[in-house]
C-alpha cells in the first residue's frame, strides 16, 4: 500500500499547505477568521507532519528532485532518519504553539495579524525545508527564508526602538553565521562544483580541510544556536518577539542549528577527529555555565528564559562533543548513548521551553508586565496557567520523573563511561567536565525556583496581577499538549529511545534501544542492569502511593481541624507585598558569588539623597570584550572608506576612469 516516496510527499504537502495558509492569512486580514481558523489549521498540518515523520523514522531513505530554482540547478530533497527526527520535533512542538497562537493573537488588529500569520507559516515551512534539503543551494535558500521570516516576526512590535535594535542584532549575527555556513559548504564540495550533499559525502577531504569545514560549520551554526560568544542576540530577540514566536524560535529554530552541526559532522564529513569533540565539549560547557549564571540574575522573565535556552544549547553541544569523541575513537556504542542523550534533550527542550515561553505570553497578556519583580501571586488568579507552568519549570529544572531529568541522566551515564577511552589525558578531563555539567544542572534548579516562585507565588505586587484572568481554551489546549509531552517523554524513555535508535544507527552505526529495554519497557538500562537502571514511572507511582498513604493515615487519625488566619512571619505585623524577594533579591547570592564573571554595575543612593535612585545591572562581558571593539573597528574602517564618497559626479567619473586604466594595465 505504501509507496516508497510517501513520507517525503507528505512532508512536501504539509510545506505547501503551510505556504497556502500563509497567503490565506495575508488575504483574509480578519483577526477573528485568522485566529480561529488559520492557526488551528496550521496545527493540524503540524500533526500530520509529526505523525508521518514518526512513522518514517527508520524507513527507507526518500529522495526527490524538484525542478525549481535556477536552470540546471534543481532542488534536491532527502528524507532520512535524521531529517525525520527533526521534522518530528518541528511538528510535535509546533502543534502546541500554533494552537496557543489561535488564542493568543485573537485580539490583534486584522492587518498586522495577517502579516504575522504570513510570516509565521513561512517560518514553519522554511524550517521544514531546512531539514529536507539535500543540496547546499536549497539549504541556504531555506536557511535564509527562515532567518528573514523570523526577523520580521521578532520585529512585530517595530515601533519600539529596542525591538528594532534587537531585530537588527539578530539579523546581523544570523548573516555572519550564514556566511560561515556557506563557506563551509564551499570547502566541503572539494572543487567538484557540485553542491549536492551526496557529492559532499563522497568528497574525501584531507584532515586539514575537514577540520576547516568543521570549524566553519560550528561557527556558522553556533551563531544560530547561541553558542558562546555568539549568544548575545538571544537575550535581546526573545523578549522582543511575541511569546509564541519566542517559543518557536527557542523551541524549534535553535534546533535547526543542532541539526546542521549533526548533519555536517556526522553525516557529510564522515569520520570526525577526536579534538573536534573536545572543542565542542568545552564550548558547550562554557555556554551552559555562562547561560545559567546569567539566567539566575535576570529580572525580565523572557530574558531569563532566553539565557536558560543558551544553557540548554550548551548541554546539547556537550552531548554532541561527547558523541564526536567516542565516535572518533571507535567507541560507537558509547557514541550512540551520547547522541541519544543529545537528541533526547533537544526534543525535551523544545517541549519545556515552548511551554514556558507560552506561559510568559499568557502572563504578559493578563498583566502587561515582563518584569518579574512586579508580578507575584498569580497562582491565585491564574491557577490553570500556574499548574501548566509548574510542569514546565520542574522539567526544565531537571527534576525526576519529568523529561529534563531523563536526558540529563542519559548524558551523565555517557560521561561515567568515558574512563574506557584510550587517550590518557582525555579520560581524566571528562570527569571534570561532568562536574561542570552537574553544576550547571543544579543552578538550573535555582533559576527555575526563582522563575516560578517570583512570578506565581507570594502576594501580588500590583493591583492588576490580583485580578488577572486565567487562560482561555486555545491557550489551555496548546500548553496542555506541551505539558503532556513533558510528562510522557519523561515517563516512557524506553519507547522514545527505540525511536531515536534509527537516528543513531544512521549517524554512528550503533543503537541503544535493545540494550535499554533488556529488562522490559518499565526499566531503562542503557548498558547493563547492574551498571545503571532507572524507572521514572515506578518512581512516580511510589511517590504518589506515598502521598496517598500519608494523606490517608493523617485523615484517619488526625482530628482535621483547620483555621485560616493572617500570615505569622515571626510575629512581624506590618507585612506588605514589597517585603518579598524580588527577582533581583532572589538572584543576589549568585551575583555576590560570581561577581567577577557577571560584570555587575550598581548605583546605590546615599542616605542623603533627596530622590533616592537604585540601579542594578549585570552586563554581558562579551559585549565589552568582543562586540564593542569589533563595532569600533568597523566604524573606523567605514569612516575611512567614507572619505572616498564625495557626492560629486566628476570625482566618481574619475574613479571609474582610474579603475579602467588600472584594469587595462593589468589585463593587457
Amino acid at each position: 500500500m505504501t509507496t516508497p516516496n510517501l513520507p517525503i510527499d507528505i512532508a512536501l504537502g504539509v510545506i505547501i499547505y503551510w505556504l497556502l495558509l500563509a497567503v490565506a492569512g495575508l488575504l483574509l486580514q480578519n483577526s477573528r477568521a485568522i485566529s480561529q481558523w488559520i492557526f488551528p489549521a496550521g496545527a493540524a498540518g503540524a500533526l500530520v507532519l509529526a505523525v508521518s515523520a514518526l512513522s518514517s523514522l527508520g524507513g527507507a531513505i526518500n529522495v526527490a528532485v524538484l525542478p525549481l530554482g535556477l536552470p540546471d540547478l534543481p532542488f534536491h530533497l532527502r528524507l532520512d532518519s535524521l531529517s525525520a527526527f527533526f521534522l518530528l520535533l518541528l511538528g510535535a512542538a509546533s502543534i502546541g504553539i500554533s494552537l496557543y497562537s489561535a488564542g493568543y493573537f485573537r485580539h490583534m488588529e486584522g492587518g498586522s495579524l495577517g502579516l504575522l500569520c504570513f510570516e509565521y507559516h513561512i517560518f514553519l515551512a522554511a524550517m521544514a525545508l531546512v531539514f529536507l534539503a539535500d543540496d547546499a543551494y536549497l539549504f541556504m535558500v531555506a536557511w535564509e527564508s527562515m532567518a528573514l521570516s523570523s526577523y520580521f516576526l521578532v520585529t512585530t512590535d517595530h515601533n519600539i526602538p529596542e525591538t528594532r535594535r534587537a531585530g537588527f542584532l539578530y539579523l546581523l549575527i544570523a548573516h555572519v553565521g550564514a556566511v560561515a555556513i556557506l563557506m563551509s559548504f564551499g570547502v566541503m564540495q572539494g572543487g567538484h562544483g557540485d553542491y549536492t550533499f551526496s557529492t559532499m559525502r563522497n568528497a574525501h577531504l584531507t584532515e586539514f580541510w575537514a577540520s576547516v569545514t568543521f570549524l566553519l560549520a560550528l561557527f556558522g551554526f553556533g551563531a544560530k544556536a547561541g553558542i558562546l560568544p555568539l549568544h548575545v542576540w538571544l537575550p535581546e530577540a526573545h523578549p522582543a518577539a511575541p511569546s509564541p514566536v519566542s517559543a518557536m524560535m527557542s523551541g524549534i529554530m535553535l534546533k535547526t542549528a543542532i541539526y546542521g552541526i549533526l548533519r555536517v559532522s556526522f553525516d557529510l564529513l564522515g569520520m570526525p577527529l577526536w579534538w573536534w569533540g573536545v572543542l565542542a565539549l568545552s564550548l558547550g560547557l562554557a555556554t551552559a555555565l555562562y547561560g545559567v549564571l546569567f539566567a539566575a540574575v535576570q529580572t525580565d522573565m523572557k530574558r531569563l528564559l532566553a539565557y536558560s535556552s543558551i544553557e540548554n544549547i550548551g548541554i546539547i553541544l556537550v552531548g554532541i562533543g561527547l558523541g564526536l569523541v567516542f565516535h572518533a575513537l571507535n567507541k560507537d556504542a558509547l557514541a550512540a548513548l551520547a547522541l541519544t542523550a543529545t537528541l533526547y534533550h533537544a526534543l525535551n527542550h523544545s517541549f519545556m521551553k515552548g511551554l514556558l515561553f507560552l506561559g510568559t505570553g499568557s502572563v504578559l497578556h493578563a498583566t502587561g508586565e515582563r518584569d518579574m519583580g512586579k508580578l507575584g501571586g498569580l497562582i491565585h488568579s491564574m491557577p490553570k496557567l500556574a499548574l501548566l507552568v509548574l510542569v514546565g519549570a520542574l522539567a526544565l529544572a531537571g527534576l525526576p520523573p519529568l523529561n529534563g531529568f531523563m536526558s540529563e541522566w542519559l548524558l551523565l551515564q555517557a560521561f561515567l563511561l568515558s574512563p574506557d577511552l584510550p587517550l590518557p589525558y582525555l579520560n581524566m578531563l571528562v570527569p571534570i567536565a561532568a562536574a561542570a555539567l552537574v553544576l550547571a544542572a543544579a543552578l538550573a534548579g535555582y533559576v527555575m525556583v526563582k522563575f516560578y516562585g517570583v512570578i506565581f507565588l507570594g502576594q501580588p505586587r500590583m493591583e492588576k496581577t490580583a485580578k488577572a484572568h486565567d487562560i482561555g481554551a486555545w491557550e489551555l489546549l496548546g500548553m496542555g499538549w506541551l505539558a503532556l509531552g513533558c510528562l510522557l517523554l519523561g515517563l516512557f524513555p524506553v519507547f522514545v529511545i527505540f525511536n531515536l535508535d534509527h537516528v543513531t544507527l544512521m549517524l554512528v552505526g550503533k543503537t541503544l534501544g535493545s540494550t535499554a529495554a533488556q529488562t522490559g519497557w518499565l526499566l531503562l538500562t542503557p548498558i547493563q542492569p547492574e551498571r545503571a537502571s532507572y524507572s521514572p514511572l515506578v518512581l512516580l507511582v511510589i511517590i504518589v502511593i506515598g502521598v496517598l498513604f500519608t494523606l490517608f493515615v493523617v485523615k484517619k487519625f488526625y482530628h482535621g481541624r483547620l483555621r485560616r488566619g493572617p500570615a505569622w512571619d515571626c510575629g512581624f505585623p506590618a507585612q506588605t507585598a514589597r517585603m518579598q524577594d524580588t527577582a533581583e533579591g532572589f538572584g543576589q547570592p549568585i551575583r555576590q558569588i560570581f561577581e567577577q564573571v557577571l560584570g555587575v554595575i550598581r548605583e546605590v543612593p546615599s542616605p542623603y539623597d533627596k530622590k533616592p535612585h537604585y540601579h542594578g545591572e549585570t552586563r554581558d562581558l562579551f559585549w565589552d570584550l568582543i562586540y564593542l571593539p569589533i563595532a569600533w573597528v568597523a566604524e573606523r574602517i567605514s569612516a575611512l572608506i567614507g572619505k572616498l564618497q564625495q557626492g560629486r559626479i566628476p570625482i566618481y567619473l574619475l574613479y571609474s576612469f582610474v579603475t579602467l586604466i588600472a584594469l587595462l594595465a593589468f589585463v593587457r
Binding site: 527555575m448 525556583v449 517570583v454 532572589f586 547570592p589
Partner: protein
C-alpha cells in the same frame, strides 16, 4: 517474595527509627554541652504534640503550600527506603540509581522552597533563596561523591556500589577518603546542621531551613519535621553504605540479617554521636562563608575522582 518483605520491613524501619536517631543526636549534643537532655524519644513527643494541634493556614496559602508536606514526606521516605541499609536485595532499588536519588532530594528541595515563597513573607523567600544557594552547591558535590564511588565500582546502582565496596580489602582508599570528607560536609549542609544552619535557632538573620517552614503548623509541620528526620537518616545510611558497608547482608543471605541489624544499629549510634561532636565543636558560619564551605566540598569530591584516575584506586 522475600525481597518484597524485606523492602516493606525496611520502609517501616526507616520511618520509625528516624525520629529516634534525631533524638539520639540531640541527646549526645546535650551530654557534650553538659546538659541532661530530653531523652532519645523527645522527637516523638514533639510529633505527637504537633499532631494534636489545630492547623493554622495563612489566608493566601495555595494548594501547593498544603500539598508540599506530603510530597516532602513521601519523597524522603522513598529516598530512605532505597538505600541498602541491612540487605542488598531490595526490589525497588533498580528503579532509582544514585543520580535519580540526588534528583529525589532535589525535588524535595524545590517543593519546600516553592512552598516557602507561597505565602509571600519576607522570611519565607529569604529562607527559600538561602536553601537554593546551599542546594546548588551541595547537589553537585553530592553527585561527584557518588560518581567517585561509581567509577570505582563501574555502576551507578547503589546496590552494586555497596556490593563492590563491601568486597574491597579493609584499607585506606585515598579517593574514598576525599569523598568521605566531602560527603560529611554535604551532609551537614543538606540537613541544616551547624556550621551551615542551626536546627535549634529562630534567630532571623541566621536561619535557613527554619525560615522556610515558619508558616507551617500542626500536622503539616509534623510531617515536615518527620521528613527532616528521615532525610537525616537517609544521608547517614548513604554514608554508611558508601564508606563503611561491612556487615551488610547480601542477596539471599538470610542468616546474616540479625547481624546486619546489630551492625546498622551500632553504626547509626556512632554516626549520630560523631555528628553531635562535630556540631558541638564548630561554630555557625556567616551565610556568605557557606559557598566557600560547600565549594571546598565540591572541589574535594572532584579531587577524589581525579585521585582515583591518577592512582587507579
Amino acid at each position: 517474595m522475600n525481597g518484597i518483605l524485606l523492602q516493606l520491613f525496611q520502609d517501616t524501619l526507616v520511618v520509625l527509627v528516624a525520629p529516634i536517631l534525631l533524638g539520639w543526636v540531640n541527646q549526645c549534643r546535650a551530654w557534650l554541652q553538659n546538659r541532661s537532655g530530653a531523652g532519645v524519644l523527645q522527637p516523638y513527643r514533639v510529633l505527637i504534640k504537633l499532631f494534636h494541634k489545630d492547623a493554622v493556614l495563612a489566608n493566601n496559602a495555595s494548594p501547593l503550600f498544603r500539598s508540599t508536606p506530603y510530597i516532602l514526606f513521601s519523597s524522603m521516605w522513598l529516598a530512605a527506603a532505597l538505600v541498602p541499609v541491612i540487605a542488598t536485595d531490595l526490589p525497588l532499588s533498580p528503579a532509582v540509581d544514585v543520580i535519580a536519588l540526588v534528583g529525589i532530594f532535589a525535588v524535595a528541595r524545590a517543593f519546600i522552597s516553592l512552598a516557602a515563597m507561597d505565602i509571600g513573607t519576607s522570611f519565607g523567600s529569604l529562607g527559600a533563596r538561602r536553601e537554593m544557594l546551599v542546594g546548588f552547591l551541595a547537589e553537585p558535590a553530592l553527585l561527584m561523591v557518588f560518581f567517585t564511588a561509581s567509577v570505582i565500582s563501574h555502576s551507578t546502582s547503589l546496590v552494586t556500589i555497596v556490593e563492590t565496596l563491601a568486597h574491597k580489602q579493609f584499607m585506606l582508599y585515598p579517593s574514598l577518603a576525599f569523598a568521605a570528607v566531602a560527603f560529611v560536609m554535604v551532609l551537614l549542609a543538606e540537613n541544616a546542621r551547624v556550621p551551615v544552619d542551626n536546627p535549634s535557632t529562630h534567630l532571623e538573620l541566621t536561619m535557613i531551613h527554619e525560615a522556610m517552614i515558619l508558616e507551617y503548623s500542626a500536622r503539616h509541620l509534623a510531617l515536615i519535621e518527620w521528613a527532616g528526620a528521615i532525610k537525616l537518616l537517609a544521608y547517614i545510611t548513604i554514608g554508611i553504605a558508601l564508606f563503611v558497608p561491612w556487615g551488610i547482608a547480601e542477596a539471599g543471605d538470610w542468616g546474616a540479617l540479625p547481624l546486619a541489624l546489630v551492625a546498622l544499629f551500632l553504626k547509626l549510634m556512632a554516626a549520630g554521636a560523631g555528628l553531635a561532636l562535630l556540631e558541638t565543636l564548630s561554630a555557625k558560619l556567616r551565610i556568605f562563608r557557606v559557598p566557600e564551605f560547600l565549594g571546598t566540598a565540591f572541589l574535594l569530591a572532584v579531587l577524589a575522582m581525579l585521585v582515583h584516575y591518577l592512582l587507579g584506586v
